[in-house]
C-alpha cells in the first residue's frame, strides 16, 4: 500500500489548526475548529484508500488492483453529511446565544462557582444548638420562620 504524504501532511495541519481553534473562547471559532477537524478526519479516511485508481465500475478486462477503493469514499460522504448537519446546528445555537446574551463566548457555569464559593460551614450540621428549644408558639406566629432564624443567630 502506498501512502500519500501530502494528504497526511494536510490532514495533520488541519487537525492542528482545528484543535487550536477549539481551545478559543469564541463560539464561532470553536465551530470553525470543529469543521477543520472534521475535514482532517475526512482526508485521513481518503488516504486510507491507497493510491488513486480507476472508478470502481466493474469491467471484466480490468484487473482488481487497478480500481480505486470505493469504501473510504462512501465513508467520507456519510461523514460530510453528518458534519454538515452538526455545523448547521452549531450555527443555530451560536445565533441563539447571540440573540439572548449578545455574546458568542463560552459562558461560565454559575453552579460551579457556587460550589467553589461554598464555605465549609454547613448550616445543618455545624450550627450551634439554640438555647431556647421551647415548642410553644411565639407571639409573632405568622412570622415564625424569619423570627426563629434571628433568635438562633442571637443565641450563638
Amino acid at each position: 500500500m502506498t501512502v500519500n504524504i501530502t494528504l497526511l501532511a494536510v490532514m495533520g495541519v488541519l487537525v492542528a489548526v482545528g484543535v487550536y481553534l477549539i481551545l478559543e473562547r469564541s463560539l464561532t471559532r470553536v465551530m470553525l475548529g470543529l469543521m477543520l477537524l472534521a475535514n482532517g478526519a475526512n482526508i485521513l479516511l481518503l488516504s486510507t484508500g491507497g493510491a488513486a485508481g480507476l472508478a470502481p465500475l466493474y469491467r471484466s478486462d480490468i484487473a482488481p488492483e487497478d480500481y480505486n477503493d470505493p469504501l473510504p469514499q462512501a465513508l467520507i460522504l456519510t461523514s460530510i453529511v453528518i458534519s454538515f448537519a452538526v455545523t448547521a446546528f452549531m450555527l443555530g445555537i451560536i445565533y441563539r446565544s447571540w440573540v439572548l446574551g449578545r455574546q458568542d463566548e463560552v459562558q461560565d457555569d454559575i453552579e460551579d462557582r457556587r460550589v467553589r464559593n461554598q464555605s465549609s460551614f454547613d448550616a445543618e450540621d455545624d450550627t450551634a444548638i439554640p438555647v431556647e428549644t421551647t415548642e410553644f408558639v411565639p407571639e409573632d406566629a405568622d412570622e415564625r420562620p424569619a423570627g426563629k432564624k434571628t433568635k438562633q443567630r442571637g443565641s450563638r
Binding site: V30, L44, L45, T48, L75, V86, S97, Q107, E143
Partner: protein
Amino acid sequence: MNAASLAPLAVALPFMGAGLTFLLLRHPSAQRFFSVSTLALTLAVELILLVTAWTSGPQSVSIGGWVPPFGINMVVDELSSLMLVISTCVSLAVLVYAAGQGMADGDEDGPVSIFHPTFLILVAGVSNAFLTGDLFNLYVGFEILLTASYVLMTMGGTGPRVRAGVTYVVVSVISSMLFLLSIAMIYAATGTVNMADLAVKLGELDGSTQMILHLMLVVAFGIKAAVFPLSFWLPDSYPTAPAPVTAVFAGLLTKVGVYALIRTETLLFPGDRINSFLMIVALLTMVVGILGALAQIDIKRMLSFTLVSHIGYMVFGLAMGSVLGLASTVYYVAHHITVQTSLFLVTGLIERRGGTSNMDRLGGLARLSPLLAILFFVPAMNLAGIPPFSGFLGKLGLLQAGVDLGTPLAYVLVAGGVLTSLLTLLAMARVWNRAFWRTPADAEHPDPVLLAAVPDRAPRGEHIVPAKAPAVALKVAAGKAPQTTSNVLPKSMVGATIGLVVLGVALTVFAGPLFQLSEQAGLGLLERVPYIEAVLGPGAAEGARP
C-alpha cells in the same frame, strides 16, 4: 427467514414513526398516539429478538443481501437484545411521561411538537448502535442519537439550555471525531470495518499498532460513557434539559458508550492488556463521581453525579475480564438504566409538586405527597444497593468478581465499590431528609408555597396563616390544592414513573433468569467464536479462538 431478520425493524420502525409524527406536527393528540404505539410495536419486535437470542445464540442479518464482511450487518446476541429491550421499555415510559407533561401544560413553552419526532429518532439511533455489527455503522448510530440529543437538550432555546448545549455539542463532536479518526486508522491497518472480521484481523497486527487503535477507541467511547477524567461535561449539561429529556439521556446515552466499550474490550481487543488501567479508571470514576454528588444541593445535579459515579461500576466489571465480571456488568447496566431514569422522572415530579429541585428550598414532601415519597424511596434505595434490590445483586456480583481475581488492585477496587455504595446511600439519605422528611419551615430558604401547603404543626391542628406569603400560596392554602394537584401531577406522568419503578423492582424479582441471561451474554462475549461465526459463517473464527 428466521426471527433475527426482524432486527432492522427495531431501527426502521422508530424512523417511520418519526416521519409520521413529523407530518402530524399540528395534531398533538394524533402525534402522541402514533409515537407511543410505534414504540410499543418496536418493543414487541425486540422482545421476539430477545427470546431468539436467548434460545439460539447470536444471529446476524446482512442488510441488502451484501455478504459480510462487505455489506453492513446487524447482529442480535444476548447483550444487544437485552440492551434493546431495556432501553425501549425506558424510552416508552419517558415518552408517556413527556406526553402527559405536554397535555398538562398545554404544550406552551417552546416548540414541543418537535419533541416526538426527535425522540423517536433518538430511539432509532440507540437501537442502531446496539444492533450494528459494523464499526462505521456504529459511528452513524452514535451520530443519529447525538444529533437528536442536541435538539432535545436545547429545546426551547432558553439561556441556560443554550449554554449547557454548547458544552455538550462540542464535547460530543470531539469524541465523534476521535472515533472517526480511529475508524480511519483501523481501516488503514486492516482493510475492513466489519466488527467480526476485525475481531479476526486486529489480532494479526503487531502489539504497538493494536495498542494505539485500542486506546483511541477507548478514549472516544470513554467520553461518551463519561468515564472519570472524561466525565466533566456530563453534570454540567444534563440537569438543564427538561426533566423527561434528562431522564432518557441519563438512562440511555452513556450506556450506549458503555456498550461500545464492552464490545471494544471483548470482541475487538480481547485480553487483559489494559485491564489494570481500566481498574484505576473505574475506581476514580466511582469515588470522584460520588464525592461530587455529595457537594450538590440541586437534586438533578446530584443525580447526574451519581450517574457518573455508577458508570464506574460498569467499567469495574469490564476490567475484571471474567465471566462473572462481565455478567454483573451486563446486569448492572440493565439495572442502572431503569433506576437512574426513574429517579430523574421522580425528580421531575418533585419539581412540579414542590416548585423546585433545589434541596435548600424543599421540605415536607413526604406529608404533602406520600406517593411521591414512595416513588423516590424505592429507586433511591435500589441505586444505593440496599438488599434485596437489584442494585445490591449487581454490586454483589461485581464484588465477587473482584475477590475472585484476587490481585491487590482488585481488592482496592472492591473497597472502593463498597465505599461508593455507602456514599450513594448518604447522598440519597440527604435528599430524603431534606426534601421529604423535614418540615418546610426548617429549609434554608423555604419555598412560600410549600410553607403554606404543609401544615407545620398538624398534631395540634394549627395552621399557620401565611399573612405575607404570595397570592399563589394563599390560593393553595384556601383549599384550591385538590383541584391543582391533578394538574400538577397528571395521571400519565405518575403512571409512567410507577411503571418504571415497578420495572426496577421486577429486575429484582426476576433476577434469577436475568442473571442467567447476563451470564450467557458474558460467556459469549469472552468466547467470541459464536459471534464471529454467526456473522462470517462456520470456521471463520479459527484465528480468534482464545
